[in-house]
Symmetry: C2
Subunit: 604 residues, 2 copies
C-alpha cells in the first residue's frame, strides 16, 4: 500500500452506514436466534477482517464492537477515542474504553439471563473467548459459537483473504534452513512429551518455513495454519495458488501443503494427541475443533516465538546492513529537513513523510515501510499514535518540535527509529525534557545485565531520570522487532509487564523513552538495539549481556543541554555520533549531505 492509499483509510465513511448496517445485523441475528454478536478488530489484520470498519465505519487498527438487544457499542483504547468520535455516530453506537472491565460491564447491563450472545470463534483467540464465556456465565447468558460469521452474509464486496504471492526468504537472509528450524522445534515438542503444535501466527509460520508474503499491512507475514508433529512432519494449510509456478525453494521437501479449507478436518486427526496451542494468539475455533476431536490441549506459548526472536548470526549481520542502509536514508532526510527549514521553505508533515519514504526507496532495497510513519509537528508530537491525514496535515513552525517515528522493511532486516528535531531554536524547558529522555535512553543502552534478566527489570533504567524530575511517559520502553517480519514482535519486551521472558542474546528490541506535553510537543528517542553477550568485565563473576545500538542517525544536538549530562553520558553521545559519521558519511554521495552529517555529529 502506498502512503496515499493508506491515507484513504482515514476518510470518514458516511455515518448513516453504521445505523443501517447495525440494523441489518440485528435482523440477521434475530433469524439465527441470537441476542447479540461481537465484532473484534485486531492489530495488523487483513482487509477481509475489517468488519468493524464495515459495520461502524471505524478504521482504527484495534477495537471491539458489540451489538446486543437495542444497543451497540464500540470499545477503543486511548489512541482512538477522538477518531472513533469522528467516525462513528454517537446516537447509534455508544463508546467505551477497550478494557475487559468495561466490555464486561456493558455486556452485564445489556444482556439478561437466558440470552444467547453469538461470536465468531475464528475472530477471537482462546483466551478472549474463555473470558467472554465467563462473562456470559456470570450473567446467566450463553456464549454461542457461530458456524459462520453473520456479518459476512451482509457484507457485499467483502475483500478476499490475502492472496499475494508467497516468496522464498532465502538462506542468505534467514540464516538457518527451514528444515533445521522444524527439526529443532519438533525436538523440543518431543522432549516435553507433546505430540504436535498447531501454529496460527503469520509471523511464526513465515519464520519457520523461510517464506514471506504481504498478508498484513507493512508486515510480510503469511496468515495460514500449520500442524507440526513431534516427528518433524509438517502440514501447511495455505492456497498453493499463492506459490505461482512452484513452491518457494526454501520449503523443505517433506512439507505437505493443503488447502486452507481442509484445516478444520485435519484437526480431527489429532484425536488423543497432546497438542500445543497458544491461548493468546490461536483462534478459539481451533480449540473447539481440537476439543471435539478429543485432543489433549496444552496451552503453551507458540514454540516458534522465542527462537524467532533470537536472531542468528546471519540475521544479526542482516540487521546491521539494513540499519546502515536505513541510516543513510535517515541522515539524508535529516539533512534535507534542516536545509529546508533553514532556507525558510514551507515543510508540512505529509511532505516530510513523502520525502523520508523517497530516501528509503532510493536505497534501492526498500520492500515496504515497516508501519505508517508517525510525523507529528508541535502538538501532534504529543499524540503518541498520530498518523497524518490530509485534514490533520500541519506545517512545521519555528520554535516547535517535530517527532518522526518511521521504519523500513528490507529483506535483511526491519528498522524502526524515532528522532525528534527542533524547528528553530528550542527553549530551555524543551531542552531539559529532551535531555532527561536522552539520559534514560543512554542508561538503558549502556545497561549490563545477567542472563535471566527480564525487560521489566530494565524498564525503570530508561525512566529514572524523568522520574527524578516528576515526569514519565505512558508507554512501554521497548518492543521486539522481527527480521523482515513484524516491527512489533514478542515474546520479550522492555516494559512494566515484560517480566515473563528473559532477554536473550540475538534479540532485537527498541529503546524508546519519551516525554509528551499535551497540546504542546512530543519528544521520543528510539533506536533498535541488539542483545549481545557483554565483554567480560574485570572482576566480574557472571556472564552478562548488554545492548549494541543498531540505528545510525544523529540526535539533534541543539536539543541537548550538555550541563544535564554527566561525563559518561557525554562520552556516549560523542562516541555514537562518531560511529554514525564514520559509517554513514562514506555512503553519502552528496557533499552537502556529508557536510551536514559532519556538523550534526560534532563533539558536544
Amino acid at each position: 500500500m502506498t502512503l496515499m492509499e493508506s491515507l484513504q483509510d482515514f476518510q470518514t465513511p458516511a455515518p448513516e452506514a453504521a445505523l443501517n448496517r447495525t440494523g441489518d445485523l440485528r435482523k440477521e441475528l434475530k433469524r439465527a436466534g441470537l441476542n447479540g454478536f461481537l465484532v473484534p478488530k485486531h492489530e495488523a489484520s487483513p482487509l477481509n477482517e475489517e468488519r468493524l470498519a464495515w459495520l461502524f465505519g471505524f478504521t482504527g487498527s484495534m477495537g471491539f464492537g458489540a451489538v446486543a438487544g437495542e444497543r451497540a457499542a464500540l470499545f477503543v483504547d486511548g489512541r482512538y477515542v477522538l477518531q472513533a468520535r469522528e467516525q462513528v455516530p454517537d446516537e447509534a453506537v455508544e463508546q467505551g474504553s477497550l478494557t475487559r472491565e468495561h466490555i464486561a460491564a456493558w455486556l452485564g447491563e445489556t444482556l439478561k439471563a437466558g440470552d444467547k450472545l453469538g461470536y465468531d470463534p475464528w475472530s477471537h483467540n482462546v483466551d478472549e473467548a474463555g473470558w467472554l464465556a465467563r462473562v456470559c456465565g456470570d450473567i446467566g447468558a450463553e456464549l454461542v459459537a457461530c458456524e459462520s460469521n453473520p456479518l459476512d452474509a451482509l457484507w457485499k464486496n467483502r475483500p478476499p483473504a490475502p492472496s499475494g504471492a508467497i516468496r522464498a526468504h532465502p538462506i542468505e537472509y534467514a540464516g538457518k534452513e527451514s528444515s533445521a528450524k522444524i527439526e529443532d522445534i519438533a525436538g523440543d515438542l518431543e522432549k516435553l512429551g507433546l505430540d504436535a503444535a498447531v501454529l496460527d501466527r503469520g509471523d511464526s509460520i513465515a519464520w519457520l518455513l523461510n517464506v514471506r508474503s504481504t498478508d498484513a499491512p507493512h508486515t510480510p507475514i503469511i496468515l495460514s495454519r500449520v500442524i507440526l508433529s513431534s516427528d518433524g512432519s509438517l502440514d501447511w494449510f495455505v492456497s498453493a495458488e499463492r506459490f505461482g509456478e512452484s513452491p518457494p525453494d526454501t520449503l523443505p521437501p517433506g512439507i505437505r501443503v493443503h488447502a486452507a479449507e481442509d484445516f478444520a478436518a485435519a484437526l480431527k486427526g489429532l484425536k488423543g494427541k497432546k497438542v500445543v496451542l497458544d491461548k493468546r494468539s490461536a483462534a478459539d475455533g481451533i480449540r473447539l475443533h481440537l476439543e471435539n476431536a478429543g485432543a489433549k490441549l496444552s496451552f503453551e506459548r507458540d514454540p516458534c516465538q522465542l527462537p524467532k526472536a533470537c536472531k542468528n548470526r546471519i540475521e544479526q549481520d542482516g540487521a546491521r546492513a539494513a540499519h546502515i542502509r536505513d541510516g543513510v536514508a535517515l541522515c539524508r532526510f535529516l539533512a534535507w529537513l534542516d536545509d529546508a527549514l533553514e532556507s525558510g521553505k514551507a515543510v508540512d508533515e505529509i511532505g516530510a513523510v513523502k520525502k523520508l519514504e523517497a530516501f528509503r526507496i532510493a536505497t534501492g532495497h526498500l520492500q515496504d515501510i515497516s508501519f505508517d510513519t508517525i510525523a507529528g509537528s508541535g502538538p501532534h508530537g504529543a499524540m503518541m499514535h498520530y498518523r497524518v491525514s490530509e485534514s490533520s496535515n500541519r506545517r512545521l513552525c519555528e520554535g516547535e518540535l517535530f517527532l518522526v517515528d518511521s521504519g523500513g522493511q528490507y529483506l535483511d532486516g526491519t528498522t524502526d527509529v524515532t528522532r525528534t528535531i527542533a524547528v528553530g531554536k528550542p527553549n530551555d524547558e524543551v531542552r531539559r525534557h529532551y535531555s532527561l529522555v536522552l539520559k534514560g535512553y543512554i542508561a538503558l543502552a549502556c545497561a549490563r545485565f545477567p542472563k535471566g534478566t527480564t525487560g521489566a527489570q530494565l524498564d525503570g533504567f530508561a525512566r529514572q531520570a524523568l522520574w527524578s524530575a516528576g515526569l514519565d511517559y505512558n508507554h512501554g520502553t521497548g518492543h521486539g522487532v522481527g527480521s523482515f517480519l513484524d516491527v512489533h514482535e514478542g515474546p520479550a519486551r522492555i516494559s512494566k509487564g515484560g517480566d515473563d521472558v528473559a532477554l536473550c542474546a540475538g534479540m532485537i528490541l527498541s529503546n524508546e523513552p519519551g516525554y509528551y506535553r499535551d497540546g504542546a510537543y512530543g519528544i521520543r528517542i528510539e533506536s533498535l538495539v541488539l542483545v549481545t553477550p557483554a565483554q567480560s568485565i574485570e572482576g566480574g563473576d557472571r556472564e552478562m549481556l548488554g545492548f549494541k545500538v543498531l540505528t545510525l542517525a544523529p540526535f539533534d544536538s541543539s536539543l541537548i543541554d550538555v550541563a544535564l549530562l554527566d561525563a559518561e553520558e557525554r562520552a556516549f553521545v560523542d562516541a555514537y555520533h562518531q560511529r554514525v559519521r564514520e559509517i554513514v558519511s562514506p555512503l553519502l554521495e552528496d557533499e552537502h549531505e556529508r557536510a551536514w552529517l559532519e556538523k550534526a555529529t560534532r563533539v558536544l
Copy 2:
C-alpha cells in the same frame, strides 16, 4: 520459642526413622487403595503440620515429599540441599530440586496409567492441587483427595494444632477498627458483584479482626478461617477456648464465632453464591467443599492482602517508633561487637545472636524476634539462609566479614535489618563489593516513581552498579513487612517477578541488595522503607512516590570505598548517619555507646 529451642530443630533425627515410617505409610496407602501420597511442607507452618519432619526427618522450613510405589523422594530448594543430605538417608529417599518441573518428572517416572495418587486437600493450595491434577492427568493417573491424612493415623504424639491465647491488637496499634475494615472489604465485594470471601490466611484474619496470637514461629498470626459476606456479616471458625475469659475487645460485636470443625459444614451454606477464594493460599479442601456445595468460585487475591499491606497513619507511626527502639538495640549491639572485637575478646556466631537478642529484650517491648537470626561470619555469610547451630557455630576472625540479618516483633511494628561488619581491616576487593552493594541500596532508597510502578521496575535500580561490574545476587531486592505480623508479606515485592502489584503509599518493604562470594564472605545491606508520596518536584507533572528509610543503624564506614561513591551518594550516607545519630544517641544511656555512635556516624 527461644533461640536454644529453635536450635534443637537442627538436631538430625535418626535416619532409620525415615525408612520405618515410609514403610508404615506404604502399608497405610495400600489399605486405602492408593499408589502414592504427597507430603508438602510450607513456610511458617505450625508443629502439627511438620509431617515432612516426622516422615523423613527433614526439618527445613519448606519442602515437598512424595511416596509412590517403591520410591520416595524429597524435593528442596537451594537453601536446603545440604541439610536434606545430612538429615535424610539417600538410600531410602531420593532428593530433587523443589520445582514443578522436577516433581512432575519424578511423578511421571514413578506413577503409571490407572494409578491413584492420594493427597490431603487441606495441605495443598488450590493452585498446587490443580497443577498436580494436571500432572496426574497427563500420566493417566488419578489425583485422589483423602478424607483424612493417612500419615496422621501413624503419627503418634502428633502435636496439637496451635492453641495459644488470642489477644486483642488494640486500636492504638491497629489504627483502624475491625468493624471499619470489615465494612470496607464487604463493600469491595459488593461492588464487584460478589457474595462472600472465604479467608484462609492467618495474617489476613489477624489483620481484619485486630487480633494476634502465636500460631506460626515468630509470627503472631492466627491460623483459622473466616467467611465474610458482602453484607458485612462475618463467621469466624476458631476455638473460642483460645479467647480465655472473654473474646478480645477489638472484635466487632456482630461476629459469629464457630468451632473450627464446623467450617466444612458452613461452606455448604454458600450454595449458589459467588465466592472469592485465593488460589495461591486457600486450601484445596475449601474449593472442593464449595464446588460440591454449588458455589460459584471467583479466584481472586485474598481481599485483605492489599489493604493490610498499605499501613494506615497509626501503623506508620508505630513502625517509626518500633524502628527507633530497634535501632537503639542494634546500635548497642554494634557498639558491643566493635568493642569486643577491638579488645580481642572471642566472639562467635551464637554469642553474637544471644547478645543481639538480649539488647532487643532490654528495650522492654520485644514480643519475639521476627525470624531466626542469620549471623554468618566469613564463608557462612555467603550462605543466604544460614542459621547457626551448635555444630556450625564459628568464631569471628580478623579480616573476615560478619553478616547479621535479624528483626524484632513489637506491638507497634515488625523490624528486619541486615548490617555487614568488617572484623579488623577489610581488603580493597571487599570494600569495592560493599560499596557496589551500597550504591544499589542508595539508588533504590532515593528512587522517585509514579503511582502504578511495580517492584519489578525498581528491582534493577538496586542491581545496576553490581551489574556494571559483572556481579549480581540471587535473591529478590525487597519483600513486604507486616505490622506486628509476618516479616515477609505480600502482595507487593521488589524483585524480578514482582510485576503484578503496584507499590502504594503506606507499604513497608525491605531494600536489601547483596553480594556473595561462595566460601569466602557475604555482604548484605538491608533497611525497611516506607512508601510515601514524594514531595512535589519543581517542573514535575505527575504524582510521584518515594521511600523513607525506617531502619536506624549505621553502615560500617570501614567497608565504604568513598572514591566509588558520587557526591550524591556520599551526601545520602552522611545525612542518614546524621539522622541515626540524632535520633538514637539521646536514647543511649551508656556514654561509651554514645561515643561509639558518634564515631560510627562520622561524615565520610
